[in-house]
């Protein structure tokens, strides 16, 4: 073959390959698009894969709007929210709330029953006694009398003092009962946000709302690569989870909101039976489940119950798996948990 023909052939081949690659990248985006906002008292981050930038941006905006809508209804800290109004309503009388909120409360009460009270959506007054939502955070535990008063007022109330009437209204038993949906509403919100993304044509997404994570699809045929924070080293990771398909992950730990007093760590995950931070021997619990509300509620409940009781409870939730870290750094991983311990760095 003469050199000129050879050159033309080679250039033709290289050109065709380059144009094919370019064309593929235009028609099938292979980039991840990420957007982050401050919502529900935490950082909410959405990642998408497989859609072009404008479509991803529009979908993520809609998903954030949906989370904002749910926050405006379910945050007890927003004075005009339905939950804030319910918490201020007279006790012992039924109060009308949006149908959507009834669904979340119903699920919360059900989880309270199933966890035998370890998960409790009615403990806002106890949270206020401890003041973990205050800024700056408290520096000492509250007076013991304040805790005992709360425990006495709550003692013996069925379903944690929350009644859903046949007319679909909510009745709170007394002033020791007020809603704090922090342990379930984020899970509901990320679940709804995923539905919005999917309706907008996003099949592959990862939503991370400060410990509540919802995963759909994959990242270019590869699983989403997720780290599990080291509870005692904010920069470190103790486990790696490569997750694809539909899965929810939720982590509860004693390191997000806490204060130290006389060498004791007081964290924000309260045990309703003690009226105080849970002392179950665990410092971090991660639950993988089919949906975010279950994962969210179970991670709190397992943290409160501890390893032995927590794993017994988990058997009642087929398909749910857990990774529990004890105070001494050892861990328990259920057989179906997707993930491995991270190699030390």
């Amino acid at each position: 073959m003469n050199p000129r023909r050879w050159w033309i052939m080679m250039l033709g081949l290289i050109g065709a390959a380059a144009l094919l690659t370019w064309g593929f990248m235009i028609t099938a985006p292979t980039r991840m698009y990420v957007s982050t906002r401050l919502q529900m008292g935490t950082l909410v981050s959405i990642s998408t894969w497989g859609v072009e930038e404008n479509k991803a941006d529009r979908a993520m905006d809609l998903a954030f709007e949906e989370i904002g809508r749910i926050e405006a209804m379910m945050s007890r800290f927003m004075p005009e929210s339905a939950v804030a109004h319910l918490n201020q309503a007279p006790r012992g009388e039924p109060h009308a709330v949006p149908e959507e909120l009834i669904g979340v409360i119903e699920r919360g009460v059900e989880m309270g029953r199933l966890t035998r009270g370890a998960f409790d959506i009615g403990i806002a007054p106890l949270s206020d006694v401890w003041g973990f939502s205050r800024e700056p955070p408290p520096e000492a535990p509250p007076p013991t009398a304040a805790i005992h008063n709360w425990l006495d007022a709550r003692n013996g109330l069925p379903d944690q003092g929350i009644t859903i009437t046949p007319e679909q209204q909510i009745l709170l038993a007394n002033t020791a009962v007020a809603l704090d949906l922090g342990g379930i509403a984020k899970g509901y919100a990320v679940e709804r946000a995923l539905e919005v993304l999917q309706r907008a044509g996003v099949a592959n997404a990862l939503i991370n709302a400060g410990g509540d994570m919802r995963i759909a699809g994959a990242k270019g045929g590869q699983p989403w690569h997720i780290g599990l924070r080291d509870p005692r080293n904010p920069e470190g990771v103790v486990a790696v989870m490569d997750v694809a398909g539909s899965r929810a992950i939720s982590t509860s730990g004693d390191y997000e909101r806490y204060f130290m007093s006389d060498g004791v760590r007081y964290h924000h995950i309260l045990d309703p039976k003690l009226g105080a931070p849970a002392r179950s021997g665990l410092i971090s619990v991660t639950v993988q489940a089919a949906d975010s509300m279950t994962a969210d509620a179970l991670s709190t409940a397992l943290f409160v119950l501890g390893g032995e009781e927590g794993l017994k409870l988990l058997r009642h939730f087929p398909g749910s798996e857990a990774f529990l870290i004890r105070a001494d750094g050892t861990f328990i991983k259920t057989p179906g948990f997707i993930g491995t311990k991270a190699a030390p760095r």
Partner: protein, 132 residues
């Protein structure tokens, strides 16, 4: 014989034109694949952009957060949040950020800083997200 002379002998002007277009296509593909590095940081207060800081200019800016002033520092192409101390101040834990798409925030202050641009497909720390 040197390469340019060899190329001139072995190809016509049309061949060289095709070669040039091919090289250009490869460069464009590369840029599309890898995106642009972060050049400036956008500061958000309650999710609304309030300030843009070029990462090429070292500076310290104070912004009114929900709980008081928040200081944002830019130095050597990096940015970080300073001062307000709280377990919920994600900025304190994150420290300096510089890669496109990276964020740092003071949650109770309502302040979020984001380096412009989209992150690489494999983020800086190697994870798509960290569960915490």
């Amino acid at each position: 014989m040197k390469f340019p002379a060899l190329l001139a002998r072995a190809s016509t002007p049309m061949d060289r034109l095709v070669m040039g277009i091919t090289a250009l296509a490869i460069v464009v593909s590369g840029v599309t694949a890898h995106g642009k590095p972060g050049k400036q940081a956008v500061v958000f207060r309650d999710n609304r952009p309030v300030l843009t800081l070029p990462l090429s200019q070292d500076t310290k800016k104070e912004l009114a957060g929900r709980l008081g002033p928040v200081t944002i520092q830019v130095e050597q192409g990096r940015v970080r949040l300073l001062e307000y101390q709280s377990p919920r101040m994600i900025g304190t834990r994150t420290g300096w950020i510089q890669g496109a798409g990276r964020t740092t925030a003071c949650v109770p202050c309502g302040v979020l800083v984001r380096v412009e641009g989209q992150p690489e497909n494999t983020p800086d720390q190697g994870f798509d997200a960290v569960s915490e």
